[in-house]
Symmetry: C2
């Protein structure tokens, strides 16, 4: 638990490797130098001379594929990216007015999905980040690329404490500001702690000389009040007022607090209350100004002259020979002969196009990878009622309703309109939501929004759009999930080297579902590729 | 604890009072309609015909004075604002390159302060909000004015969990990311709770049928692990990793956690760790794009044709006659004859210019008002080392060093330079800091910054500027502090009506130090003024 004597910058400067910001930093923890073992995780040091005109085919122009091509810019590799969609970005997709969402599947009535058209106004502030939406501070690799590529970032507020919690079992189903429950729960916890402390349950935890300061800390932690020589929770200003204090004689009055047993029995404590404790769900995160797809667009703009990007092209077969990989394209597309191939396809989709030149157990592990269904809804609103009437500026409200979450924009405060993320769900509920028609989804999401903003939600919506990632062409879901990942045998199996076929994408990382996982996997694939290429050259 | 059956909007619409957004809303709590008693706290309903050419003199063009004049726009009152400074805004002051800070006092060596010049580059993104800096979501009055006046707002991140805590008694004085201590403390608290629960200390707190869910909640709250049929804190991923997880085989390793006794004994738990629990210190707040002085500027731009604003004019005497208030100005300024005067001066300063026509006990109460000394330092930096090397994007780091806080900008992520708030202190330490010369202050603040960012801070600073509000002309400190405010006799006394002299400013509210207090006090003063004027007219 200590910092290095030298600052990281000093250390790097002494090593003489602090040129352009970026490359040297990756993989270092937030503070202090990490053990040398971790240095291996940095971005590949590319030897620009090893390509020798050899052909690298990259399957998929999502973040991982674009990043791999970007890393190979200025090399003597010839790079071809093929991408089934009409645009780059993959799951880093931003929807704007006029965009078409063409899910490929049949709904629960056996009807094929009709393409939905996003009806948002043509206004650069009105968009839905339909997939990737936020970057945690600790995702230093994707942040480094954003810096290098000059993608402007702004705050994404994850937790505004006036966000709402709603659960039919709590408070008669009426939503409450998150901070009410937050501070009441802390108060109750602190009060029980003080009760236990009084009865001397602290032996073994708190040294006698720290007993007094323990009491001070708990009192402060829970906003307790002295009462008959003990400390009790009697409500707190931290949660806000029933009547606000003002000028002159206006004192304000406290709100009444919730009982611990009501909080426990209802499960409201598990309805998003503590979500921002997660390392990747911080109270604030970052987003790209104007939409997250500015990140893939910036990669695309900065590809090298050695790269060609082919959109609307799908790989339908892969064969591996001794020193080549052959990629068969759909329709009349030529078969590409690659010296190396980097696939960024979702594991189950990849498994279906690998021919008998690949090991059955490898293909089976790919096929078994559980892809998590994930859905979102976007609503364009007439006004910003959540700001004007509910004191919510960004953040996420949580409900036990199927929609699970409503996100409020962290930009454009007080402007006329806004786009709400009207649902974000994954797993079983997304499976079922995704099997509904677009109209049915919107009806469900409207009901969910109305639970959080009774009397306000429906009447202020102008139009909506939905997406189910498990139905999107070229996709198999939101991300991959591996139970007990470190010990998951399938995860280990699909990460085994496959010769000239290299795998990238967030699926092949411990950060599945995050752009950080995508770029780290691309860096790893390019490192392995260039190492192989260098060996071949020497040989 | 319940919502009204009607939404607020529905209710207001039925009353037919929902015209322009704004007026109808003020004073209502975050959700649900408040009792009618609170309606009185709304902005004054001005009868535009009652002015009758009468003269209102407003002392001070800070937020309160500007707001009062703005409320009187379009009336038949004639309004004169006199302001001692060269610009409007008062303590809502933004410093940019070329600005001069001319404190009026002598330093601890008896030398008069030399005017300091802000050396920041001329770049619209490089500024220091030297006074007012942020708006909580619950400050609905100032937010309403920002909306009406079209002041663009953006997030002000108060708490980014990679912000640092530093305390010479903790971790050998080396700073640590806040989230390390945050999650360790929660873990220890949860573990003690589970220990107490096992020994049945919960009787009276948790009903038997909720015992199981209590255990689940505590386990989740503290990220506890099962261990020998009990729940223990063994570190958590929530606090981050010693070695980050990555792609393929890179699992990552947890950091070691801090012992509870170390956290307690060092007092690190009281070094900013829990600051964002306060209602007005939320994890995110709001700020005006480009600097907080856009708020007073917007008020100024929207004053009515009935208002004249006189800068560089100081009131030096006030006399109250039967139906007039006379304001004597400094130098050769004319004596202003006012039908009504709204003073927004700090109470102790006002007390010195009230003549014998005011009651001695009122003047004495004004004079006794404790004005809190408050200081800030701003640093322009060569680069944004806190983002590039420490994963900090906005927020505040905390130290027991005199500087107390370092604020990181919430805008311009990844741009070349930035302005840090390099110190923010109040009370005794600000008293002592403010008595130093500018050079001495900067030397102290540099040492403090270096405590938080060892080896990085000093070498990346380009120039700095300091301000001590207790020394600023026309000011008496950062804000007023009233011990036990509801029962404080001086607070009651200075809020007693003084006839045609009305008092406004955050000092005269329960929100001293906040713009919300300033505008609420202005609304109250204007309401009283117009009520008096209406009575006079009727009589």
């Amino acid at each position: 638990m200590s910092f290095a004597g030298l600052s990281r910058r000093q250390f790097l400067e002494r090593l003489g490797i602090l040129g352009g910001i970026g490359a040297a930093y990756y993989g270092l923890g937030p503070i202090g130098l990490l053990p040398p073992a971790n240095a291996a995780a940095g971005p590949p040091q590319i030897n620009y001379n090893i390509g020798g005109g050899r052909h690298v085919v990259i399957l998929g122009a999502g973040i991982a594929g674009l990043c791999a091509a970007y890393l190979l810019r200025n090399t003597q590799f010839k790079v071809t990216i093929i991408e089934p969609a009409r645009q780059v970005g993959g799951r880093c997709l931003t929807l704007r007015g006029g965009d078409i969402i063409a899910e490929q599947h049949t709904d629960s009535h056996g009807e094929p999905f009709k393409p939905a058209v996003c009806q948002f106004d043509h206004d650069p502030q009105l968009y839905l980040n339909a997939g990737a939406s936020r970057i945690p501070q600790s995702h230093s690799a994707i942040l480094r690329y954003c810096r290098e590529l000059k993608v402007k970032l702004q705050p994404f507020i994850f937790a505004c404490r006036s966000n709402l919690l709603q659960n039919d079992q709590f408070n008669g189903g009426k939503p409450v500001p998150l901070r009410w429950v937050k501070h009441d729960l802390r108060g109750h916890i602190a009060e029980i702690l003080m009760h236990a402390a009084r009865d001397d349950q602290l032996a073994g935890f708190v040294r006698p000389e720290n007993r007094r300061v323990f009491n001070q800390m708990v009192k402060y932690f829970g906003s307790l009040k002295e009462s008959k020589q003990s400390l009790k929770y009697r409500g707190t200003r931290r949660g806000g007022y029933a009547k606000k204090p003002g000028a002159g004689p206006v004192r304000g009055t406290l709100r009444e607090s919730f009982e611990l047993n009501e909080i426990l029995a209802s499960g409201i404590w598990h309805t998003g209350l503590l979500s921002d404790m997660y390392l990747y769900w911080q109270s604030s995160l970052m987003q790209a100004e104007g939409g997250m797809d500015h990140i893939p667009r910036a990669f695309k703009k900065n590809l090298g002259a050695n790269a060609r990007l082919l959109l609307n092209r799908q790989a339908v077969g892969i064969n591996r020979a001794a020193d080549k990989v052959y990629i068969q394209q759909s329709g009349s597309g030529e078969t590409l002969a690659a010296d190396y191939c980097i696939s960024t396809m979702a594991p189950p989709l990849l498994s279906t196009i690998l021919d008998q030149s690949f090991a059955p157990d490898f293909k089976a592990a790919l096929a078994r990878t559980y892809m998590v269904p994930a859905c979102k809804v976007g609503w364009q609103t007439k006004n910003r009622f959540w700001e004007e009437e509910t004191e919510i500026y960004g953040g996420i409200s949580w409900t036990k309703h199927m929609i699970s979450q409503v996100w409020y924009p962290s930009h454009g405060f007080h402007s006329q309109k806004g786009v709400l993320t009207g649902a974000y769900m994954f797993g079983n509920s997304a499976e079922s939501f995704g099997s509904m028609s677009n109209a049915a989804r919107l009806a469900v999401a409207m009901a969910g929004g109305e639970k959080l903003h009774p009397g306000l939600f429906k009447q202020n919506i102008e139009n909506g759009v939905s997406i189910a990632w498990q139905n999107m062409p070229g996709q198999a879901g939101g991300w991959a999930y591996y139970r007990n990942q470190p010990e998951n045998p399938d995860y280990m199996k699909i990460n085994e080297p496959q010769g000239r076929l290299l795998l990238a994408g967030d699926y092949y990382s411990y950060l599945s579902g995050w752009m950080e996982g995508a770029v780290l996997s691309a860096e790893l694939a390019v490192k392995r590729l260039t190492r192989m290429a260098a060996e071949k050259k020497v040989a």
